[in-house]
Symmetry: C2
Subunit: 548 residues, 2 copies
């Protein structure tokens, strides 16, 4: 490189690519930096697209985080939009570029290449998938088309896929007054979450009149009077004006594959922890790559903006001689749907099961702030941890205000390798508008710490077995009358000490209350009176989340 400038070529100008370019310039004024983007825009707010369709974000310009012109002026980048990179010649260290406006093809050399091609929405290979009125949601051009058809007046839309983008689209259709059907191939929305934690989202969708269809596989699409007739394998047919396909994305790896770069086991571009591909002069970042799952340790593909941005920084550091490392992803993610927030970080229970990892779990159902201050909103938090060390493995939250805060706190705890005992000691902001003297995160720690120390044995809802022992509902008779677990006997906690003689000797006893707190005390009373008792984890509320 002596005697001439380092030349960095970046393929893709949205989150990871734009971050890499800006970081590279800050590190090196002398480098020649070429940013190639096949679309007309760079660095647009793709996470905002559903809200622009719904009208929450009113101005299209707001979605343009920056412009090619701005990047040129401020960062002295050679930005070329509508420029498609067709191939990489690794021996010659050249890329072949097609200028989409003119059709002209030309070559550019590189010293270091950073690939940030992103991921493409999956379009199922079924008949009719290319009919008009069918959209995926990736860029401003998609949005312009959807918005145009919405403006022309549609009465009904179908969203295929209950993931993050699918749910955001449903929310925005509901706000626009468009009758909406959500169709999901699985038995739950939000695949990265454990099913019971998605129940409040399901209920919010139902409460807002969304027609939900689970376990449905789309077979074919035909034109119809309404616009489209969607035919499902089950025989279900839905007539609709518009279909949004939100069934996930797949890494854009064609360029890498054609160049002979190593592809990972999950189908993303393989990189090491410096984000270098199998070619030492080529790095890759963002939705196209495969990274380590920080908790489980295996490979994963996580199309999220936060990691993409940080990866862009790291790749730029390393291209310019640094030694930054990517620690892997926790999969921290959040979605808001019709007033309900759902967030997750680290491993889900199902991923722990899938990977044969030992774990225990706890649930709490606290309010976001002191109950005596107006406006407290309810949430459910679930946490998985190592049964031997108490190390936190994952957490999920669903509910109103403050879910994001608690999952962020738990994300940091996972990053730091903290245990459930550390949660007991956390000193968090408390004033009645903001939290509780015992914050929901402290409560998670108390419940899990009690389990670890053996003070508070707990039975999971899945392990409830009416034949294996005595099930005692320690709530009030009024609460019991409103609904209880079949087979349960009502014995309020405040009467328990004086009615111990009513309990069968030598049988296992499971207690439960509404959220777990009275059941905990009941378990303590019973165990100290010689009974083999445990508390139903998370109480009747957790039981209810597991029903249906």
């Amino acid at each position: 490189m002596e005697g001439r400038k380092m030349k960095i070529v970046i393929v893709g100008g949205v989150a990871g690519g734009a971050s890499a370019a800006a970081r590279a310039r800050r590190l090196s004024e002398s480098a020649e930096i070429l940013l190639l983007e096949r679309g007309p825009e760079v660095s647009f707010a793709n996470c905002g697209l559903p809200y622009y369709i719904g009208g929450e974000i009113q101005s299209r310009d707001k979605l343009l985080v920056t412009t090619p012109e701005r990047l040129r002026t401020r960062f002295r980048l050679d930005v070329r939009t509508l420029s498609f990179v067709k191939s990489i010649d690794r021996d010659q260290k050249m890329v072949r570029i097609k200028e989409l406006t003119s059709g002209r093809t030309y070559d550019e050399s590189y010293d270091k290449l950073i690939l940030a091609p992103g991921a493409a929405p999956i379009r199922p290979a079924i008949s009719g998938i290319d009919l008009p009125g069918i959209y995926t949601l990736r860029n401003l051009q998609d949005v312009d088309q959807i918005k145009s058809q919405v403006s022309s007046g549609i009465k009904h839309a179908v969203v295929l896929g209950g993931g993050f983008i699918g749910l955001e689209m449903v929310e925005n259709f509901v706000k626009l007054g468009i009758a909406t059907t959500m169709v999901e191939r699985n038995a739950q929305v939000l695949g990265p979450f454990d099913r019971e934690m998605t129940q409040p989202i399901f209920q919010a969708l139902v409460a807002h009149g969304v027609d939900l269809q689970f376990n449905q596989n789309l077979a074919s699409i035909k034109p119809s009077g309404e616009g489209l007739a969607l035919h499902f394998e089950s025989g279900l047919v839905i007539q609709t004006a518009m279909l949004i396909v939100g069934v996930g994305v797949k890494p854009e790896t064609k360029l890498a594959v054609d160049a002979g770069l190593k592809i990972g086991v999950r189908g993303g571009i393989w990189v090491d922890d410096s984000l270098r591909t199998s070619d030492p002069d080529i790095y890759a970042v963002g939705d196209a790559i495969e990274v380590k799952d920080f908790v489980i340790g295996n490979e994963t593909v996580v199309p999220l903006a936060g990691p993409a941005n940080r990866q862009g920084r790291i790749a730029a550091d390393n291209v310019l001689g640094g030694s930054s490392r990517y620690r892997g992803t926790q999969g921290t993610a959040i979605v808001g749907v019709l007033g309900v927030t759902a967030a997750t970080t680290g491993a889900s229970e199902k991923s722990l099961k899938r990977n044969d990892r030992a774990y225990r779990k706890v649930y709490v159902h606290p309010a976001n702030h002191a109950g005596y201050y107006p406006g407290a909103e309810a949430m459910t938090l679930k946490m998985m941890f190592d049964p031997n060390t108490g190390t936190i493995l994952g957490a999920q939250g669903v509910g109103g205000d403050g879910v994001d805060k608690r999952i962020d706190i738990l994300a940091v705890a996972i990053q730091a390798g903290m245990t459930v005992f550390d949660l007991e000691e956390m000193e968090l902001c408390y004033a009645p508008q903001y939290g509780s003297a015992k914050d929901p995160v402290n409560m998670l720690g108390f419940v899990a710490g009690g389990l670890m120390r053996g003070e508070h044995p707990q039975l999971d809802v899945e392990d409830l077995n009416p034949e294996s022992g005595c099930l005692i509902d320690v709530r009030t008779p009024e609460e019991f009358a409103k609904g209880h677990i079949p087979g349960a006997v009502n014995l309020p906690v405040d009467e328990l000490r004086s009615r111990l003689n009513e309990l069968p000797d030598g049988k296992k006893i499971t207690t439960y209350c509404q959220v777990g707190q009275r059941g905990y005390l009941a378990t303590r009373i019973l165990r100290q009176s010689g009974f083999e008792a445990s508390n139903l984890s998370g109480g009747y509320k957790t039981y209810q989340l597991h029903q249906s």
Copy 2:
């Protein structure tokens, strides 16, 4: 203890005492637990008192977190309210109790004693301090009196002391439409915060018409036509109907002192990390004790509900044979005043200075969530860290929504011993309603990490010296025209590369922009062009916070 029940006596039935009692019962069904409270209530919501006066909390019952009856029934505690503990006979292991209703005095023995007497509001020893219309705010009786006088119609009130409770009272008076004067002995509100971070609170108070008087010492109070005439040492006289004295609290140590228990250097009851006093059978918790500052390592007195509750748990564990440890306090605290939130955790800059601890600091001024989504609110975050290791020492935040979340995240980072580099890697919840792909906490990490790595040299506002070099404002001419630092020259960042020849050789250069981001790029450009440049930490916004 063989052959008979353990008898635990707890003095004080609010946060720490009530937590200790409930925990003790959960750990031991057999223990005899006596909870002595000199007031008529146990475990009331003292943090809610100002909001009940203001009407935000409408029902007085809401403030009663639990009742003596509930504690008796559920936890089988022997709860005695209006019971004042006059003395401890450590040799005989007895406490002498005065029944406030009857005046009767009697003794109770203990095996283990837990002191949770709390802290008393300080009433300055000045003439007239006991006149009618002068209140402190500690319990429901205080609140009943204040509310009664407020209901009778008052036009003006004075709050003495700009701490947490003082500010909360001011907010509630403003909401009630009562003209309010806040008087503070120091030159800032919120003593635990660094002064510049309190400026947004100051501005909110002024914007809401609060009359602020700083650097005023109350000398005497006389009756007057309005009710009270407050005479200050400066000669200032304020006529008012009501005076709320909120100048801090002092640990209630008389009982401990009289019993010969060791008192700490800060005037609180001395305890070891198991919360045991100098008497092995006596523990102490809550506002009355002195604990370790988790960051600085010295002794501190922190009257906060969260630590009190956790200490109650720990003392109960240890009384019953456990070995729980209190790790010290970070002083995490939050207050909301007239739409502005201020929160702090760990060491302040002034406490680091006072303790001769080396530190560096950074400021960021981000929005709480993506700017393209409606309703984004601004905040300022300040962070102190170790200049050699990057270990985070303290943080403060002020602004709108989301300040609590970021300070909680930083509180966890401090607890975990994390560094600024860990902040760069944090994977937090991101969707446009909740955060940013680069969260404010990531931004703090980037700015501090750049400082630590030498990529981003920064000058603190306090070290600005117009004579020592060249000060360049890299904002636009429009921004510059609206206000700039005296002596600064305007040279927009986008023109900097082409105008380097205008800069003086061999002089130190300081750049600044609005919040620090363009100044950072400008510094990078200049340093790579051979200039000795640094960026003004936190930009013009931070400069403005330091003015006045």
